[in-house]
């Protein structure tokens, strides 16, 4: 199958290309850009005039909910949402039921996601059995089964000796440990930032210190053990400053921010809007501005959707009882573009943070359109506004703080392995 993508604006951050160039796809690979390879005969021509052609997006933080929570979402629904959002590779979280803590489960998941023939799925395995923070998992077995890193999801390890050993063990084999910094005692029962809004609304709080204390612990252990660490979902200006300092000292650390946190603050909770019940909590404008700047200056390496579909009933509750999370796969592109537009950031630099940067962090070969690269391609209209509402979202999770808003950036075609898996 040969596909000729014609007259599009090719933006490939890895190769620093931003130009009107045709893209030629053959046998699932990139066969050439600019000029057709010798003897190329297209089976299909995609007219990309006025559209951006870029590597398929890579999202490092996705909850597929399957197995165990199919009432919230299923592999089928979420992978369809992924390709509708232009996401062709994603890392999924192990906090399913059962937890992804043994190789058989990972193999099963890989097999079942392959069957869908949609996005490529790269599981993050559990760092400890049951994510309980007591016994480390068989990281080599899990890696052989397909895991690309290890994480605790939202379950912090309270026992620092276990954390130390887990990172030491991971460091032995060069595995990356993905940790969201949150000190569980300070965050206990909390649902909102410890600030003005929570004070007014009487919500239980998660102070910034819950992030910075955990971050200090993680960075310190990383430095001692030599573990490769990826810091997940930074939420505070203080956290940003600590990561910046660690990077300046030469620590091998990367980090991400969720697209929600680039745009929202505690004030968006308004009158208890459960769509804004997120983990980590939305913080102040100062924090949000620091996150936006850090993503620009490289302290934060990449943006993720932190896609966490929640069923309707779990949000139809008072704020504190509602389940945390928001759908995100289909919003990653428009929310990243919004950030770039607001900060006057060139498209190429914006797309870096959702293509090659996350691919590099995950250690996967995707995220670019070089010769012979896997033909995972996103073709989108950067000018087209679309309304975020349940009817327009393929994800089974319909809840997002951006519900009702119009955002620019609509995916028109998504290709995975040279196959058109989505078009609109």
């Amino acid at each position: 199958m040969n596909i000729h993508i014609k007259q599009g604006r090719l933006v490939d951050p890895k190769h620093n290309i931003d130009a009107i160039q045709d893209v030629f796809v053959s046998e699932g690979k990139i066969a050439g850009t600019g000029h057709a390879p010798d003897g190329f005969v297209a089976d299909q021509v995609i007219d990309a005039t006025g559209l951006v052609v870029c590597p398929g997006l890579v999202d490092v933080a996705v909850r597929l909910r399957e197995p165990g929570n199919e009432y919230k979402a299923s592999l089928k629904s979420e992978l369809r949402a992924a390709v509708a959002g232009g996401v062709t590779s994603l890392a999924c979280q192990p906090d399913t039921d059962p937890v992804l803590d043994e190789s058989g489960l990972v193999e099963m998941l890989k097999h079942r996601t392959k069957q869908q023939q949609l996005s490529n799925v790269y599981p993050l395995g559990a760092l400890t059995l049951q994510l309980a923070g007591k016994q480390i998992t068989e990281m080599n077995e899990l890696t052989d089964a397909g895991c690309v890193g290890f994480t605790q999801s939202d379950n912090s390890i309270t026992d620092t000796q276990v954390l130390w050993r887990a990172m030491q063990y991971a460091a032995t084999f060069g595995f990356t440990v993905w940790l969201r910094p949150q000190e569980p005692y300070l965050a206990r029962d909390g649902v909102a930032h410890d600030g003005e809004v929570a004070t007014r609304l009487g919500l239980k709080t998660i102070p910034v210190a819950a992030e910075t204390l955990a971050l200090a612990t993680i960075l310190h252990i990383a430095s001692e053990t030599g573990a490769k660490v990826h810091i997940c979902r930074l939420s505070s200006a203080e956290g940003v400053a600590m990561v910046k300092e660690a990077k300046q000292k030469g620590l091998e650390v990367t980090c991400d921010v969720s697209a929600n946190h680039l745009h929202l603050t505690e004030h968006d909770i308004g009158f208890f809007d459960t769509n804004c019940h997120l983990r980590p909590p939305l913080r102040t404008q100062r924090d949000r501005d620091a996150l936006r700047q850090a993503l620009l200056n490289g302290t934060i390496d990449l943006v993720c959707s932190n896609h966490s579909p929640v069923d309707e009933d779990a949000k139809l509750m008072p704020f504190g009882e509602a389940e945390a999370g928001a759908t995100g796969l289909e919003l990653l592109l428009p929310l990243t573009l919004k950030w770039a537009n607001e900060l006057n950031i060139p498209l190429l630099d914006a797309l870096t943070r959702i293509t090659i940067a996350p691919a590099t962090t995950l250690g996967i070969a995707q995220g670019h359109l070089g010769l012979n690269a896997s033909a995972d391609i996103c073709i989108f209209d950067p000018q087209q506004y679309w309304k975020i509402e349940p009817a327009n979202l393929l994800s089974q999770g319909k809840n997002t703080p951006f519900s009702g808003m119009e955002l620019a950036g609509k995916v028109r075609y998504t290709l995975v392995n040279g196959q058109v898996v989505y078009s609109s």
Partner: protein, 317 residues
């Protein structure tokens, strides 16, 4: 942002919090309450304003006093009253709040009085009820207890009519107190120039000063020259642990004794939302003393709740 407790015309649709309520509506409630104070002193303690209406008290969290005063208020307005203690019935069977509310709506209730342990529960219910139903928040988590805040303000106004010339001190567990939040918003909206909170740092929320109050940790300083001393209840479970070392030490630092009260203005009034912990936050001598208006607060509570219910009912006509 649209204020969820007002109609498009700016009238009161629900009473969820005192925050953001226009001064005119606060005054309307207080003035209406004045007219109901007399009802209780009549031989026939009833007015027909809510005749044929059904008021439903839904208590997801236990309460005796608030529930009783709402019942009395509704009955004096001639409404039919149903009281549900949901904490002991359907919630334990897995029914959601919305299920409960929808069931009661199907029974043609007109007004819901709601108490729930989670902040925002009343807003949540108000957002999902049929448009003809009025919701009154009878306490949601740490967030708001507007009728209590209003009855406190009503009491103050009765004893100290010049609201623009008052110093009010609120003492105790502000962090967990929906009463304190509702009082602060009502007092500041009505133009009270100085509201103080007095508490150890463990019992104050972050940035409490953004609510428009002055923060004191030393009771001897904070009580100086105040006109109103409002004590807050300290829940038993907060007395020993990480927030406070003991009830004794709390009383030593923040309990209201005659000596401390002497620092306030000589004609200062003493208030407490009840139920009191004598010897923990307040000395019995003070609670039962000449400056205490704690029992009048209870009496006025009924008048204020009648006022709120009658205004809401009037706004649907």
């Amino acid at each position: 942002m649209h204020n969820p407790q007002l109609t498009k015309e700016g009238k009161l649709q629900h009473l969820l919090t005192t925050e953001g309520l226009p001064r005119a509506i606060l005054n309307q409630i207080l003035d209406t309450a004045e007219s109901f104070v007399g009802v209780a002193e009549r031989e026939v303690k009833k007015v027909p304003l809510l005749r044929g209406k059904t008021v439903c008290n839904i208590f997801f969290e236990n309460s005796t006093r608030t529930r009783t005063t709402f019942e009395i208020a509704a009955k004096r307005l001639s409404a039919d009253v149903i009281t549900l203690n949901v904490s002991t019935s359907s919630q334990s069977k897995g029914e959601t709040i919305l299920d409960t509310v929808n069931n009661l709506t199907a029974m043609h209730a007109d007004m819901f009085v709601v108490r729930h342990a989670e902040s925002g529960a009343a807003h949540f219910i108000a957002r999902h009820v049929a448009p003809h139903i009025h919701v009154i928040n009878a306490g949601d988590g740490r967030h708001a207890h507007p009728t209590q805040g209003l009855l406190d303000v009503f009491t103050i106004r009765r004893y100290k009519p010049d609201m623009h010339n008052l110093r009010v001190a609120i003492i105790g567990d502000v962090l967990h107190s929906r009463v304190a939040r509702s009082e602060i918003h009502a007092l500041t909206t009505l133009g009270v120039p100085e509201v103080r909170v007095i508490a150890p740092k463990t019992l104050l929320p972050q940035h409490v000063e953004k609510l428009g109050v002055q923060v004191y940790h030393d009771m001897n300083e904070g009580l100086k020259d105040v006109d109103v001393v409002m004590m807050l209840r300290l829940q038993n479970e907060r007395m020993n642990g990480a927030l406070l070392p003991s009830a004794q030490e709390y009383f030593k630092c923040y309990g209201l004794t005659p000596e401390k009260l002497a620092l306030a203005k000589p004609d200062a009034i003493v208030m407490h939302p009840g139920p009191m912990n004598r010897g923990v936050e307040i000395d019995s001598v003070v609670a039962d003393g000449g400056q205490s208006v704690i029992l009048p607060q209870v009496t006025y509570g009924i008048a204020v709740r009648m006022a709120v219910m009658s205004i809401l009912a009037g706004n649907s006509e």
